[in-house]
Structure formats: structure tokens, C-alpha cells
């Protein structure tokens, strides 16, 4: 229960950090999508209910704070979560190289969804432009992914300790 109560606060905090802090340190040139790393992590290590809710909440918050077409981030994050979840049943998802490569693929997949949406809704062909902009971002996000996986694992451990303590008190 604590998990679901903390989820909106944590999502809001994470996205605020993502938008503001990286803007300062990368001078607006690159914007690593930490929220997407978290979605991939959720797909690998959290269950459908917890991870799925996390993906929907993060996607919704992203739509609210940065999106232009509402609902797009919700759909793309949920799809990436489901794909990661399916992949985690078949492959050992803890390896550093696998995490990096898979995250890069997920970032590019997300951009591909956006390109398809632009084509479908507005008839705009922006494949080259978006992929050109996204390639470096995908690589940087992928490189950062293992470090953030470790951080998220630590947070998950802390949360489970807190949950078990509070359930014992009850």
C-alpha cells in the first residue's frame, strides 16, 4: 500500500529532477530519460500490477509536464514495460551490457512510436530528424542505465524494509 501512496510523489520528484537537473549539467544538449530507465527496470524486476501502475503513472506525469499529445507517453511507457516484462522471462536481465543495449533499444523504440504517431495523425515524415536527435540521447541513457538500476534496486530494498516494518506494527 505504501508503494502505491508514494508512487505519485516519487514520480513527480523523479521527473522534476530529470527536467531541471539534467538541463543544468548537460546545458540542454542531452536529456537522458531516467523515467524510461525506471520503466525498463520495472519491466525486469517488478510485477505486472506494481510495474504497470508505475509505468502508467510515470507516463501520465510525463504527458502532463512535457508532452504535446496527451496519452502518448502513457502508451509508449506501458508498451515498453510489457516488452521488458516479457523479455525478463526469457533472458537474464541483470547483466550490465544487456541493460545498456536494451535501454538504448527502448529509447529508440519510444522515438519510433512518436514518429509513427506523427505520421498517422499529422502525415508528417520526421523519421530522419527525430532519430538524428535521439541517437546520442539513447546512447547516453543506455550508458547511465546500469547505475540507475543499482540506485532503483537500493530504493526498492529500502521500500520493502519499510513495508515489512509497517506491516509488523499493524
Amino acid at each position: 500500500m505504501i508503494y502505491y501512496l508514494l508512487l505519485p510523489v516519487f514520480s513527480l520528484f523523479l521527473l522534476t529532477i530529470q527536467i531541471n537537473v539534467f538541463d543544468i549539467f548537460f546545458l540542454g544538449k542531452i536529456a537522458p530519460e531516467i523515467s524510461l530507465i525506471l520503466v525498463v527496470y520495472a519491466g525486469f524486476f517488478l510485477g505486472i500490477a506494481r510495474g504497470g501502475t508505475l509505468s502508467v503513472v510515470l507516463g501520465f506525469f510525463m504527458d502532463c509536464m512535457t508532452g504535446v499529445v496527451p496519452g502518448l507517453f502513457v502508451i509508449s511507457y506501458l508498451l515498453i514495460f510489457l516488452i521488458s516484462n516479457i523479455v525478463s522471462f526469457r533472458v537474464y536481465a541483470g547483466g550490465m551490457i544487456f541493460t545498456t543495449v536494451f535501454t538504448v533499444v527502448c529509447v529508440l523504440f519510444e522515438k519510433l512510436l512518436i514518429i509513427m504517431m506523427y505520421k498517422a495523425l499529422y502525415g508528417m515524415g520526421v523519421l530522419y530528424e527525430i532519430l538524428n536527435d535521439s541517437l546520442l540521447q539513447a546512447v547516453v541513457t543506455g550508458i547511465l542505465a546500469p547505475a540507475f538500476f543499482a540506485l532503483f534496486r537500493r530504493l526498492e530494498d529500502l521500500l520493502s524494509v519499510w513495508e515489512s516494518r509497517s506491516s509488523r506494527q499493524l
Binding site: 513527480l12 544538449k29 502508467v56 507516463g59 504535446v68 496527451p70 530528424e129 527525430i130
Partner: protein, 275 residues
């Protein structure tokens, strides 16, 4: 037969997919309206963002200064050359402006309609390469509505797309979704300025026969009835004429510097009002 745990998983996944599809379809039903939950999130994001920014402000400034010091001397020399050139230009323009005032009086031209405006501070910048939006600290409480044009010191910044009580989201003119009816100032040649994200903007639907040169100033035409006429949009950065193409490919460098966008002016002009 599927185990109960497996069927629960499938049901949960289906519910989540349904939720996301409903959220997506809602946009097409009421694209102009900002929902209640969305308003709450926008309201909560701004104080949190401001707190993070103020906490990291000094670190950020030091970091930016360090990065900017690289190549500062060369930039300084270049700026001195630019200042000298601009001083001459300002003098010429002052003369032209005085002449224009005299002519205007002479012709008894009606003055342009000016709209009330609200100054706002940028409180959240989104640098994800696809969607180019910023959050500002003014909303419906200050009279802002979706569709209002937004100006920066350098020129047009974009337009309001979502409004909460104290926060609004601005679609910048470099976003792919941004389309502004524009003119080349020199020869009044008309086109549509579309955002192209990190590449700046592209002036579309300008015929091959039109004379467009690098450095030409691009302004708003006012024909889209969103942006008032004559606002600075940018300058032509590159022109490409392909043999078989009907239109030219014109890349425009926006006047707006998003990296330095800190304050904006929201013009209280509804679509269709004024010139």
C-alpha cells in the same frame, strides 16, 4: 488451462492497456481542455521544480560559467565586431524609424491594435528532443487561456497549449507541432513556419521562383489569426532548391534562444481577435 496467477497477470495487463488507450483517446475528444488531474500535477510540479532549481542554482551557475569560459576570448572579439556593426545598423534604423513616423502621420494610418500582456517566468524546460515545451508560472488566475501567443525578448516563443490555475504549458515554435503563418520581411513572400526541433524551423510552401536569401528576416504574417502581424520569428539560415521540387527547402534559425529563455510575455489575444 491457464493458472489463476497467469490469468490475473493477463487481466492486469489488459486493464492497463485499456487505461492508456482511454487516456490517449480523451485527447482527441477535448484537445483544448486541461483536465483536473493534469492541473493538479502542473500545480505541484512548479514549486518542486523551483525548489530544486534554487537548491542547485549556484552549482549550475558555476558549472555554466566554467563551460562558457572555454573560447570566451575569441567570442569576445567576435562580439566586438558585431557591436560595431550593430551600432551602425541602429543608427540607420533610427533614421528609418523617424521617417516612418512622419509618413504614418502623413497618411493618417491607423495604429496597430495592441493587446494587454502578462509577464511570466519560465519554471520548467523540457529538453527531450521530440517535444519542445516549457512551463510558465502564470495560468487561468491571471487570465491566460489556451491558444494565447507567447513572446520572448528576441521574438515569438510559441503559444499556450495547456493551462492550469497558476501554471501554463507553452508549445515552442521549434516543436514539430508548431505551425505559424510567416512572411519574409524583405520581399513579403509567404509561407508556413514549422518547427523542426534541434534543427530550428523550416519555412514551408515557398515557391521555387521566389527570391529567398540567407539572412532574410522572417516575421509573422498574422494570417493564422493567432500571432499578431509583424512579430520576429527568425532568420533564414539555408535555402535549398531541388530541381524537381515545387517548393524551396528553407531552414530558419529561430530568433528565440531556448537555452536562455527565462521570462516571457503572454499576449492576451484570442484566436481571430485584432490584426
Amino acid at each position: 488451462m491457464a493458472s489463476p496467477k497467469k490469468s490475473h497477470t493477463v487481466i492486469a495487463a489488459l486493464i492497463l492497456v485499456a487505461v492508456s488507450l482511454v487516456s490517449f483517446s480523451l485527447y482527441f475528444k477535448t484537445p483544448e481542455r486541461t483536465g483536473f488531474f493534469k492541473k493538479i500535477i502542473l500545480e505541484a510540479a512548479v514549486p518542486l521544480g523551483s525548489a530544486v532549481n534554487s537548491a542547485l542554482g549556484s552549482i549550475g551557475t558555476t558549472w555554466k560559467r566554467y563551460v562558457l569560459l572555454v573560447g570566451l576570448e575569441e567570442k569576445n572579439r567576435e562580439l566586438e565586431r558585431v557591436v560595431a556593426s550593430l551600432t551602425r545598423e541602429v543608427n540607420d534604423l533610427r533614421e528609418t524609424s523617424l521617417e516612418c513616423v512622419r509618413l504614418r502621420k502623413l497618411m493618417d494610418m491607423k495604429n496597430d491594435v495592441w493587446f494587454p500582456a502578462v509577464a511570466a517566468r519560465v519554471v520548467g524546460k523540457n529538453r527531450l528532443s521530440v517535444f519542445q515545451t516549457v512551463l510558465i508560472n502564470k495560468g487561468t488566475v491571471d487570465g491566460i487561456e489556451a491558444g494565447f501567443p507567447v513572446m520572448a525578448a528576441q521574438g515569438v516563443a510559441g503559444r499556450i497549449i495547456e493551462v492550469s490555475w497558476n501554471v501554463s504549458k507553452v508549445l515552442l515554435l521549434v516543436d514539430y507541432n508548431s505551425n505559424i503563418d510567416a512572411l519574409i520581411q524583405r520581399n513579403r513572400c509567404q509561407g508556413v513556419l514549422q518547427g523542426a526541433s534541434s534543427s530550428g524551423c523550416e519555412l514551408k510552401y515557398v515557391q521555387r521562383s521566389e527570391d529567398v536569401q540567407v539572412g532574410d528576416v522572417v516575421i509573422s504574417s498574422g494570417l493564422d489569426r493567432v500571432f499578431p502581424r509583424g512579430l520576429l520569428l527568425g532568420t533564414v539560415a539555408a535555402v535549398e532548391k531541388k530541381n524537381a521540387a515545387l517548393f524551396q527547402k528553407i531552414r530558419v534559425a529561430p530568433a528565440l534562444d531556448i537555452a536562455k529563455l527565462e521570462e516571457v510575455l503572454v499576449i492576451m489575444k484570442r484566436r481571430g481577435e485584432g490584426p
